[in-house]
Symmetry: C2
DNA sequence: ATATGTGAATTGATTCACAGCG
DNA sequence: CGCTGTGAATCAATTCACATAT
């Protein structure tokens, strides 16, 4: 099995966003050169990343924007609906539940959970809040695939365990901690405090920035 | 110059968090084995990561928690204050300005900016909102080092240009777009939509998850 | 005894150069 | 002729094995 770099998957997401932008501008054709420039990678890299999944271009001519966009959506699994739930309705959970563009991004917010008796049963941003004890049943009934873990750090592992037990397939982990899940569940960290600390490091170590052409 | 992997910097941030947690529990000593388990990497990896920066342990005994923690804080540049500003006071910018734990994390929110006349001059979460035209002066006067870019995608590049012109050193980019800045400015992306799409990919391609011991 | 620190070996990712196709 | 697609070469990162220090 050809092993695909994780960095390739991140770049495919970037290429897809660029293609969507080009399509919105009515641009019909593009090239590895143009995608590379907008994604700030090399044209070699673009072609190699795409080559892991097939042949999508026309030699001598480049790529057709709608075609390549459709292919990338298929590769990334965005040609189907994904049902998501928010676990932890604190500030961050509420901010995400307010996020107005979910449907446009192929994801559908189906449920919100919290373990605070004061908010259970209430409606927040148009969504009823369930208690954590309802998780297994609601995940099953609503076919929830992905959980947004927005609980405090101290509660993150227990909440992740509950998500796994309920049969969730992927977790977007906003808590600043490494959570432990079975191999078959995929976790993506979204940790702005960690990003902030990396910025700090690179500001005091300006020599360590890789050079570009 | 020994080139340090970017992944190493991310892991150092994780080790630091673990050390802080151990210190809060009153634990005085640790080992590459323990750090590795909590960070979900190999003990080799922990030792190699630390070796890029010096020798911090005692052979046969392991590491002293407060000492290694202090060293990692120094390496990451967290032994000094960092002044940050938020650019874009929409939902996300407001949620971040409400975040209650900034000081505890070595960062100090000094200013908020927006280009909407309706919010300029108002106070949000205890912070006065400035117009974008005030950016150069406020960045200089308040010694702002890092900007949180929380404007809509379409406004991100222009806002980044303004930050760079004002002399900012690092950007935490929450907008779902690759921004173009001079090499001396460090950008860290914080893009939960991209993370969500990666989750989608790994759910439909479960075979591509790397194996662990 | 035990766990760190590190050169060497291995594995993985990116870059390159050009073959292949329109 | 131009731009994609891809094996080969280079470069980078991780893993290993063990020398080293307490």
């Amino acid at each position: 099995m050809s092993t695909i770099p994780t960095a390739t998957i991140s770049r495919l997401v970037t290429y897809l966003r660029i293609l969507t932008s080009l399509e919105n501008q009515g641009i019909k054709n593009t090239s590895s050169e143009q995608l590379a420039e907008e994604a700030q990678v090399s044209a070699f890299q673009v072609r190699k990343d795409l080559a892991y999944f097939g042949r999508f271009g026309t030699r001598g001519a480049g790529y057709t924007v709608p075609t390549l966009r459709r292919e990338l959506r298929r590769i990334l699994g965005l040609n189907r609906p994904w049902n998501v739930a928010i676990i932890g309705m604190g500030r961050l959970g509420q901010a995400i539940s307010d996020y107005p563009h979910f449907e446009q991004y192929d994801f559908s917010l189906k449920a919100c959970f919290d373990n605070n008796a004061k908010v259970i049963g209430q409606t927040m941003s148009g969504h009823q809040v369930y208690g954590m004890d309802a998780l297994p049943q609601v995940v099953k009934e609503k076919g929830i695939d992905i959980g947004f873990l927005t609980v405090p750090q101290a509660a993150a592992q227990a909440a992740a365990d509950a998500l796994v037990a309920a049969g969730i397939k992927g977790i977007l982990n906003f808590a600043p901690v490494v959570i432990n899940v079975p191999r078959e569940v995929h976790v993506e960290p979204v940790d702005f405090l960690a990003g902030l600390k990396r910025v700090s490091f690179y500001i005091i170590n300006p020599g360590l920035k890789e050079e570009l052409a």
